[in-house]
């Protein structure tokens, strides 16, 4: 081992890792993500048909999709969807629900305060911080360049 430096070893070890099946992953992400969004569209159409206005339809769809994501996480199904679908399951709002409900379930053994509540955002927290943070930056830019028009 002495005649191999760290950089060479890392390069060598990198080559030993089986390559991810990119094409298969992309196709599955497309199908799973597409299926989730199709369900979302059906929910949307159903709410619209029942006479909700545009704003209520948007919130109603989000609420129902978050419920479905949480419910499937609770049943132990969503991790399997995520395993197959990858980003196709993580990006839609159902994936966000999964990212919050899964630590809540996992850490209930440490109690409602230091377990569930404290660990609730371990995965989704960074998404919220940088999502909300970047929306503030964009908002300020919008204000500066359009003077609020």
């Amino acid at each position: 081992m002495e005649n191999m430096n760290k950089k060479d070893y890392q390069k060598y070890a990198e080559k030993k890792i089986p390559k991810p099946t990119y094409l298969k992953n992309i196709i599955l992400a497309f199908l799973v993500g597409g299926a989730i969004c199709t369900v979302g569209q059906m929910v949307r159409a159903w709410l619209t048909k029942n006479g909700l206005d545009e704003k209520s339809v948007a919130s109603g769809t989000a609420i129902i999709m978050v419920f479905i994501g949480s419910f499937l996480t609770g049943l132990g199904v969503y991790d399997k969807i995520g395993k197959v679908g990858g980003a196709g399951a993580a990006v839609p709002i159902t994936g966000f629900a999964n990212a919050i409900v899964s630590p809540a379930m996992e850490f209930k053994t440490e109690g409602l305060i230091f377990g569930v509540a404290a660990k609730l955002f371990t995965i989704a927290g960074p998404v919220l911080v940088y999502g909300v943070g970047s929306s503030i930056v964009v908002g300020i830019l919008h204000l500066l360049f359009t003077r609020g028009r």
């Binding site: 081992m1 969503y78 899964s102 996992e106 053994t109």
Partner: protein
């Protein structure tokens, strides 16, 4: 004078301690694997009636220790020491398992290398005349390891192909100054080797250099060569680490192709979707105390080199940009005393 010391990192036992009994308990997934017939107990439920994964792991370890002792027709009072370790913070599985056993206890942390770490130290305690009988044990649990090192179980992420699957299980070994073998004849203590691998989902590559270093040192110190062994087995390098060891050992002039394997590769089947194979303290523990010990008793192997490998990985240090230090401790198990 350290008269039992040979070479730079090895001790040769003058009165080699004997393994007098073992016991293994594994989870349901391991119980469906290729080595299922060698395990003493297969759990149907990996919670085993406990409220948490950590409590379940502690119970698995405790029951494995108790059963190993009674397999050796001994009692807890006959045990001079308990040497145990696991992967969890503050090695809680071992502490809470030791709580009710009432045996003088040393807690060890060597990550997944702990099984041979405990056996090396145990053998030294006996050969040094400090103990007549003692018990060594380690455990790991897939779910307690996942929540400490990775993601919640129900989180829908994808694992890389180089990632390994933590074995749920525990193995315990009773060592004695009096016994008819197999004996622990040599112990080579590893140094920490860190080649700068940072990926926590590629532990095999992080540990392989330590395994190679310990193997080379062992051969140099003892004068043994691979052909003196019927089997050389590493702890949990998985498929990636095993391939690296085979290739780099060949470059060093040692062809291990026919006699070397890895517990992590053997413990799961390719159909079990564990990617690079098993890992965890329990991996080497159940394969050593199950498969290897039982096959030695049947006469299939007469001299085996067991080298549990540890990725001394800390999520905190990893997040601070540090790489993963590796370690490997080797012991020679021989049906003959010399």
């Amino acid at each position: 004078m350290a008269i039992k010391r040979i070479g730079s990192q090895t001790v040769k036992f003058q009165n080699p301690p004997s393994i007098i009994s073992t016991y293994t308990i594994v989870g349901p997934k391991e119980g469906e694997g290729p080595l299922k017939d060698y395990f003493d107990m297969i759990l149907e439920d990996d919670m085993w009636g406990q409220e948490s994964f950590e409590k379940s792991e502690a119970k698995i370890q405790e029951e494995a220790i108790k059963a190993a002792i009674s397999n050796g027709k001994l009692t807890n009072q006959d045990m001079d020491y308990l040497l145990a370790g696991d992967l969890l913070n503050q090695i809680v599985s071992s502490t809470y398992s030791a709580r009710s056993l009432s045996i003088p206890y040393y807690g060890l942390f060597g990550a997944c290398s702990t099984m041979t770490e405990s056996l090396s130290l145990g053998a030294m305690l006996i050969d040094g005349g400090f103990a007549d009988n003692l018990v060594c044990a380690t455990s790991s649990h897939f779910s307690s390891a996942e929540r400490q090192f990775r993601f919640p179980l129900e989180y829908g992420n994808q694992r890389k192909f180089s990632a390994q699957w933590t074995v749920t299980g525990s193995g315990a070994t009773v060592l004695s100054a009096n016994g008819n073998g197999p004996y622990i004849t040599y112990a080579t203590t590893g140094k920490i080797i860190d080649m700068g691998v940072k990926e926590a989902d590629n532990m095999g590559a992080a540990m392989a250099p330590a395994a190679i270093d310990t193997l080379l040192t062992h051969f140099k110190d003892t004068g043994y060569s691979p052909k003196d062994y019927d089997l050389i087995v590493s702890g949990d390098l998985g498929k990636v680490g095993k391939a690296i060891v085979l290739e780099l050992m060949k470059k060093e002039g040692y062809d291990l192709t026919d006699i070397y394997t890895d517990c992590g590769v053997e413990v799961f089947d390719i159909q079990q979707d564990t990617h690079a194979g098993g890992s965890g303290c329990g991996c080497a523990a159940v394969v050593l105390n199950g498969y290897i010990y039982k096959e030695m008793m049947k006469g299939k192997f007469s001299r085996v080199l067991v080298m549990a490998t540890g990725a001394l990985h800390s999520p905190t240090m990893n997040q601070q940009g540090e790489s993963i230090p590796g370690i490997a401790h080797a012991i020679t198990i021989d049906v003959n005393k010399d």
